[in-house]
């Protein structure tokens, strides 16, 4: 128990957060790359065809993991936003702002791959149905959080608090995205996999496995990308502190 409390306190202080998570980067990147390679190769070449959609359903192996990440990352941004706003924790600010680019990117990937899937199957690239509209609004929210921060960039603490406010308000959109396909009937089908309902919609393990592998791969990649940016954020905002000078000089020692 004591170790958990100690870990918690260490993760709250920028120097020890930086020191501890630095060792996570390489394993996370390697896991992400390995699992992505495995998931894509199996999903694209070895998973069976779908009985209705043929090969076009293989878009699921990038579309669904990206969609899950777009919401998962926003949830983390929201939680860090609350911590930032209430407790003013620097590490939470760093994690929040470091998550924005990768979350926005996953949202854009979800929208684009969804369009590429919608054209051949539904017959249109885009339709203003509730799922697609709320996902597009998620992209605007990511841009809004980043824009708010950029507006006050010369005062990072204030900028982070204002960005956190936008992020917290935007949390409302997450349940709307999640349940849009149940609340409003339109073109997008309901979920094939849910945390509570299991994977009822995917009837073959050979289809499900690559999908779950890709879901894991994107999680690991997110951790890698977020930590890299969070480190940069802390180095930049704490530039005058002693630990930053040490951390930076150590970096040059490893790579001349």
């Amino acid at each position: 128990m004591n170790r958990i409390v100690k870990f918690y306190h260490e993760m709250g202080s920028p120097p020890s957060f930086y020191r501890i998570t630095q060792h996570w980067l390489m394993p996370m990147l390697l896991l992400a790359l390995g699992l992505t390679a495995y998931g894509l190769i199996e999903g694209l070449f070895f998973a069976p065809k779908d009985y209705q959609q043929g090969d076009s359903y293989r878009i699921i192996f990038v579309h669904v993991p990206a969609a899950w990440m777009s919401m998962f990352i926003y949830a983390i941004i929201g939680i860090c936003g609350i911590i930032t706003f209430v407790w003013r924790m620097k590490v939470a600010e760093a994690v929040m702002m470091a998550s924005v680019p990768i979350g926005a990117l996953f949202t854009a990937v979800t929208l684009l791959t969804g369009m590429l899937w919608g054209k051949p199957m539904w017959g249109t690239y885009w339709d203003w149905d509730a799922r697609m509209t709320s996902q597009l609004i998620l992209l605007f929210l990511y841009i809004g959080v980043a824009g708010m921060y950029a507006a006050y960039e010369e005062d990072p603490r204030k900028a982070a608090r204002l960005a956190a406010l936008v992020a917290i308000i935007g949390l409302v959109n997450l349940p709307i995205i999640r349940y849009s396909v149940y609340w409003w009937t339109s073109i997008h089908q309901t979920s094939s996999i849910t945390l509570t309902g299991g994977s009822e919609g995917i009837h073959s393990w050979d289809m499900l496995r690559p999908l779950l592998v890709m879901a894991l791969a994107t999680k690991f990649y997110y951790i890698y990308s977020m930590l890299t940016r969070a480190h940069t954020y802390l180095l930049k905002t704490e530039a005058k502190k002693q630990w930053v000078a040490q951390a930076v000089s150590k970096k040059s020692g490893a790579k001349p």
Binding site: L44, V62, A108, P120, T228, T232
Partner: protein, 51 residues
């Protein structure tokens, strides 16, 4: 080998989606890395100026 890459009449859509995914991740990785390098360079320059 070539039939492995064949997606019926959906080549453009499937490979386009995979392309979007891969390009996005490469873009993220390179911007994360380059901004880190830039910040470290700035801090080092500052330290050198002080010495």
């Amino acid at each position: 080998m070539m039939e492995l890459f064949d997606m019926g009449k959906y080549d453009f859509f499937v490979w386009g989606s995979i392309g979007v995914f891969v390009v996005a991740l490469v873009l993220d990785l390179s911007t994360a890395k380059s901004s880190q390098k830039q910040v470290i360079k700035q801090i080092k320059a500052k330290i050198r100026r002080k010495q």
